[in-house]
């Protein structure tokens, strides 16, 4: 029975590697998982942000593979262009140790617990996905036209779109209010708060 399963798996993987897109996918997936692991394990804060660029660039390439061109370029523009730059500024301003630093993560026992929890979560999600979809093929993909997405946003999803724009406005005002240095508190600024 186990032998049958393994041979079936071998045939499936052989078929799977017959398509050229799957080779592209495999390269992207390995790169992304490696970059993601480096994001959560590296001892250098700036390197973590830059590895996240690789992971997000890989996801943009996957979106191109799936025919979602507009989403892919939005990821490149918004995530890599804006969010990562914001992170780099945050790293600079909070004076996170720019060199190699050993105390960026919790102690070893917490890391082991986190690894166990996330591994169990991966097995749970992966197992239920395999159970639900097996090897269902994706239909032959046609690139989605950006015009169609625009039509969809402004007709079918116009109310969520307005809500998102309101969320962005609230975040904008909230960011200004939170990060602004209050002039009245300026003298108290030099006071060290005992940690």
């Amino acid at each position: 029975m186990a032998l049958l399963g393994i041979s079936l798996l071998a045939i499936t993987i052989g078929d799977w590697l017959g398509e050229i897109e799957n080779w592209v996918f495999a390269v992207l997936a390995i790169t992304m998982v490696f970059a993601a692991l480096r994001v959560v394990t590296t001892k250098n804060v700036v390197h973590a942000a830059l590895y996240l660029v690789i992971a997000l660039g890989g996801s943009a390439a996957l979106f191109l593979l799936l025919g979602a061109e507009f989403v892919a370029w939005t990821v490149v523009l918004v995530y890599i262009g804006a969010i990562i730059v914001l992170f780099l500024f945050g790293i600079m301003i909070t004076r996170a140790p720019l060199g190699y630093e050993t105390r960026l993560s919790h102690p070893r026992r917490v890391q082991i617990g986190a690894a166990l929890a996330s591994g169990a979560l991966f097995l749970l999600i992966g197992g239920s996905m395999l159970d639900a979809f097996g090897d269902d093929p994706l239909p032959v993909l046609d690139a989605t036209r950006t015009g169609d997405i625009g039509q969809s946003i402004f007709e079918r999803f116009v109310i969520p779109f307005e809500v998102v724009s309101f969320v962005l406005l609230a975040a904008l005002i909230g960011g200004i209010v939170l990060a602004r240095r209050d002039p009245a508190e300026e003298p108290a600024e030099t006071e060290e708060v005992p940690a």
Binding site: A68, T94, H106, A115, R156, P160
Partner: protein, 101 residues
Amino acid sequence: MIINQFLLLGAALFSIGIYGVLSRRNAVLVLLSVELMLAAVNINFVAFDALNQDAVAGGQVFALFIIAVAAAEVGIGLAIVLLIYRNRRSANVDELDLMKL
């Protein structure tokens, strides 16, 4: 291409993000791990959109909404981390125990 290759990659990236959130000590790195989880969810949305081929491209539109909300979240999150750093001279999540009994 099968649907599960994308879903499994999304699950792997999500789990790695969970690991980062649980094991990192610096608040900026926790936020980076949350970004990783959001990217994983986006992959799932676009993969299901490709599977369903629905006329309004709902999966892609929701991925765009997630990107917008992620941008807002990072803006607010970094502002809060900045404020905590300014007040406590530290951005480590385990030192923020002011509200702990």
